[in-house]
Amino acid sequence: MDTDGLKGMITDIHRASVVDGPGLRTTVFLKGCPLSCVWCHNPETQAPDIDLALNREKCVGCGDCVAVCPHDALRLEEGRITLDRGRCATCLACAAVCPTGALFSYGRAVTVDEILREALKDRLYYQETGGGITVSGGEPMFQGQFTIALLKACKQAGLHTCLDTAGIGAEDAFRDTLPWTDLYLFDYKSSDPDAHQRLTGAPLSAVLKTFDLLIEHNARIRLRCPLIPGVNDDAGHLRRIADISRSYPALDGVDLLCWHTMGRGKHAFLGRPVSNALPAENTDERTKAFYRQCMEQGRARGVRIL
């Protein structure tokens, strides 16, 4: 595949991650996601293109942005800026003149080489810790071509590769990731088809179809299960997670991703509402102990609580 000139849209290259697969990893967050999980903690990765964001707390009310906006999308109200997203064309003229960085953007286009160059800086750490690169998002398969090219380049450079996916994407594309992916971090968000559709906006059947495809090809998979107290952490779902971990010997294990509120600020920056159903606090230790107990009772294998 010719990757020259191929660019992907990313939000960040995060080095020294300890929560995105084994060892110490460099995680690339790609933009674009067909899901819309109510608990999404990376809302800036949902839209495929660049997002304009506004951190009102940083706004000093200078009004320079109002003057340069060609679309009349900004207003100065009570000493701070408000953004009318209906008018905004994301031209970013405002961000260019904002002195405090209150107006800023998520997303930049990069080549496979640029990412690889950054990832290779930590090669020695990967060797010492059993780490590597993790392609995440968003849903990386939303930019399937780019994701495959990136995985391939990393694999060929001798790096351990993880694909962090929700399992939604073209079957052929997933097939093409197989030679270049050492480990799939495979999201499993709800065991109930209706709830899955309601909470993520995507059908569970499509997720399971991809899961089966990967299993069929003996891919190594680590189940990643975001657990949101009162939303999707019911006993039935926890039991099912434990069941799956036992039923597939090829499964590498299970990461239970506990709810935290760190993504909240980003929702506000993007002007997106946060569901009232979400807990106001991080998952407490008692709940984590309950998860642990469910996993032990279900004789789940390779469980990490993150």
């Binding site: 020294a16 300890v18 110490l24 020695l124 010492e128 810790t129």
Partner: protein, 742 residues
């Protein structure tokens, strides 16, 4: 907590007696002998019921010292009464003080140094040599003989009688009078040492009877008349050598005490827990007696004959650090590929518990680096030890006291602004032009280069002159006889005795200087987005009216992110200052003059007096500590900051400190990755690291309810401290540092 009595005034009678002794002495040796007889036992502080070890002391308002209180024969005038602040003295007493003051204004060694510096520099740098502590200039000399560390192995193996016998033999055989006089002074100092031991023994006798007291007396009585035989006795002798000399770093104690410890443990003479108790008392005394930027104990590393016993002492020392919550002593572990891995493993554990110790030194990098930087062979380099805030010296072979400090952010400020402060206009360096005069980045660099070179020469001359004054006035006989070569040559340390006469210069603001140059090159010279006049005006006005320019400067690449552009500039600044400082030794008495990239609180204090810088920093903000990135500028993760910090060449300076702050959950949740990350850093050339394990929530909570966080210890730079004891500005600086491992 025990009252701090490190610097207690002893009063008028004492000062008159000390002064009379100084006047009565006809030679430096005589003055030393006579003055020490007045200083001791007056300055000794009694042991307490809770102590196993004696050796507490104070540094009075006049005295004889290497560093604390003052340098050489010193008068610490700020602690003297004046007419404005009579401290309870009557008018007639004040006039006696005045007479003493007139005498010590001539005789205080620091004042003699100030007067002795090359006049050329004194004129061009008005205030530099007398204005120490003001921090509104780019360089200052420091007046001290810091970091001297004794051959304590020789001390414990010979003991007091052995030392005397050796000195008597040497005196008998000496052919020249100078050597005879030196040996006599050494014998006098040993005699006084014996008196000090006896004094403490008598004082211990006044304590209520207890097994602890009896053990103290027995140990003191033993070492007064014989070489030490037990761990307790050896430890007591070691501590007393610090008491009488004022040397406040202990060097490689594992090679000194390892054999004693093992003999006692293996014979069942003491238990492990009693050894811990003794060491805990030793640590507590160090914490009470010694300022937080000294008090180093070094364990581990190459060049230890008795490696196995030494390793056992190292494990004990780390266990004691782990068991206490003290910001002292500054325990440091040297390690190399092939050393018992249990030591480094234990070190990682203790660090993970938030003790900030031991600090880690990678011999596989440091020994070759010291060979090159100091120009010594491998066996000599194996005896390198870090002391104080992180400067290297060769154990009982060299003096590398850092007697100059330079603020590179201020040097750049001077180069940008006709040698003057951007804020106050004060002259800080010769006028080589201002930013508007420089049509290319290299022209700016050229002005910066000349500024740094000028500063380096001034400091090298100052250091050389200080050694000269010390050589003529202060024999430091007890220290000299426990230093290599002095007895063989028959000369004290600074009158030709010492093997390596090094000098060091502490650099500050390296990172701010480099990041500023990166921003200037990018926005002024490469892209032309901003004009020279705009930037100069913005800096003069502390960015007022230039918010976008400031944003661009802040967003320019920053050191600490493994970014080639920013790190490349830091390397250029690093190589440059190391080179210019080294060259500055030419024409001085120094064997060499080397940079140390260390830190203490000066990055905060000097930052307060440093104008806005082109890295986006505002006037008065703290400078980055040591070789670390600016606060919050390292945004690319732990590996990136470690990669950046491993880049500066370690072979061209005499020590650099690498601070990193890690969140407390990281070593707990990912113990293997935690170890592997730092192991990888060392593999890729990391020379040193000091790790604070804490979390931001605790630091913030400690400011609200300090009483609940007395145990929270953080690494400031070249020293550790209870977070709650730090001043507000330093707490802010610590909080501004990026916390890694999330």
């Amino acid at each position: 907590m025990a009252p701090i009595i490190r610097f207690k005034p002893l009063g008028l009678d004492y000062v008159e007696a000390f002064t009379a002794a100084h006047q009565a002495g006809k030679t430096p040796y005589e003055r030393e002998t006579l003055c020490q007889r007045v200083q001791f036992p007056a300055a000794l502080v009694s042991p307490r019921e809770s102590d196993f070890l004696a050796g507490k002391r104070t540094y009075p308002e006049v005295g004889y010292s290497v560093q604390y209180g003052g340098m050489g024969f010193y008068a610490d005038f700020p602690r003297w009464p004046t007419h404005d602040n009579p401290m309870g003295y009557s008018a007639s007493e004040l006039s006696r003080w005045q007479a003493l003051r007139s005498y010590w204004e001539r005789e205080d060694a620091t004042r003699q140094c100030v007067a002795g510096y090359a006049p050329a520099y004194a004129t061009a740098l008005e205030g530099v040599f007398t204005g120490v502590g003001n921090y509104d200039l780019a360089i200052y000399p420091l007046y001290r003989m810091a970091g001297l560390q004794l051959d304590l192995r020789k001390l414990v193996s010979l003991g007091v009688p052995g030392l005397e016998k050796d000195l008597e033999t040497r005196r008998r055989r000496a052919s020249d009078d100078e050597a005879k006089a030196f040996f006599s002074a050494c014998l006098e100092s040993v005699g006084q040492f014996r008196e000090v031991i006896r004094h403490y023994s008598e004082e211990a006798g006044e304590l209520p009877p207890s097994a602890r007291r009896d053990a103290m007396i027995a140990a003191l009585d033993r070492i007064e008349t014989a070489r030490p035989e037990t761990f307790h006795e050896a430890l007591q002798l070691v501590f007393l050598s610090s008491t009488v000399t004022g040397t406040i770093n202990f060097g490689r104690l594992d090679i000194v005490l390892g054999d004693y410890l093992c003999a006692d443990l293996d014979s069942g003479r003491i238990t492990e827990s009693h050894a811990m108790e003794l060491m805990a008392n030793f640590y507590t005394l160090i914490e009470e007696e010694i300022m937080h930027w000294d008090g180093r104990i070094i364990v581990g590393g190459k060049g230890r004959e008795n490696e196995r016993p030494a390793d056992r002492f190292a494990m004990l020392a780390m266990a004691v650090t782990d068991s206490l919550n003290l910001p002292m002593p500054q325990l440091s572990l040297r390690f190399y590929d092939g050393q018992d891995p249990a030591l480094l493993d234990k070190a990682y554990d203790v660090v993970a518990h938030g003790k900030t110790y031991p600090m880690l030194y990678n011999d596989d990098v440091n020994i070759p680096a010291v060979m090159k930087a100091f120009g010594v062979d491998e066996a000599t380099a194996e005896q390198y030890i870090p002391y104080g805030c992180g400067e290297y010296m060769i154990h009982h072979q060299s003096c590398h006291t850092p007697n100059g400090i330079i603020n590179l952010a201020k040097a750049l400020e001077a180069a940008l602004n006709n040698g003057r402060s951007l804020t106050t206009g004060k002259l800080m360096a010769p006028d080589f032009g201002n930013l508007c005069d420089y049509s290319s980045f290299e022209e700016l660099w050229n002005a910066y280069d000349k500024t740094v070179a000028f500063c380096g020469r001034a400091l090298a001359h100052a250091q050389s002159a200080t050694y000269d004054i010390m050589g003529r006035t202060a024999p430091f006989s007890f220290v000299s006889m426990l230093y290599d070569d002095c007895l063989e040559k028959g000369r004290p340390l600074f009158a030709g005795g010492i093997r390596i006469l090094g000098g060091t210069c502490e650099t500050y603001g390296n990172t701010n200087c480099a990041d500023s140059l990166t921003a200037i090159r990018r926005w002024i010279y490469d892209t032309g987005k901003w004009s020279r006049a705009e930037l100069l005006q913005a800096l003069r006005d502390n960015w007022r009216g230039f918010p976008l320019l400031r944003r661009d400067c802040k967003e320019a690449p920053k050191y600490g992110n493994d970014d080639d552009e920013a790190d490349g500039m830091l390397l250029r600044v690093h190589d440059h200052v190391c080179g210019r400082v080294r060259e500055a030794a030419e024409g001085t008495a120094l064997d060499h003059f080397l940079v140390v990239v260390i830190n203490n609180k000066i990055n905060t204090v000097w930052g307060k007096m440093t104008s806005a810088s082109a890295d986006g920093r505002t006037t008065g903000e703290a400078l980055a500590p040591g070789n670390a990135p600016g606060g919050g500028c390292d945004r690319s993760g732990l590996t990136a900051v470690l990669n950046s910090q491993a880049k500066p060449d370690p072979t061209i300076h005499a020590g650099a400190v690498q601070n990193v702050k890690v969140t407390s959950s990281f070593p707990v949740q990912h113990p293997d990755i935690y170890r592997a990350v730092f192991n990888s850093y060392f593999k890729r050339g990391g020379a040193q690291i000091m790790i604070t394990v804490t979390n931001r929530e605790d630091l913030l909570a400690a400011r609200i309810t300090p009483e609940k966080y007395a145990n929270l210890i953080v690494r400031v730079g070249g020293f550790s401290a209870r977070f709650i004891d730090l001043d507000h500005d330093t707490q802010e600086e610590i909080l501004s540092r990026t916390e890694h491992g999330h």
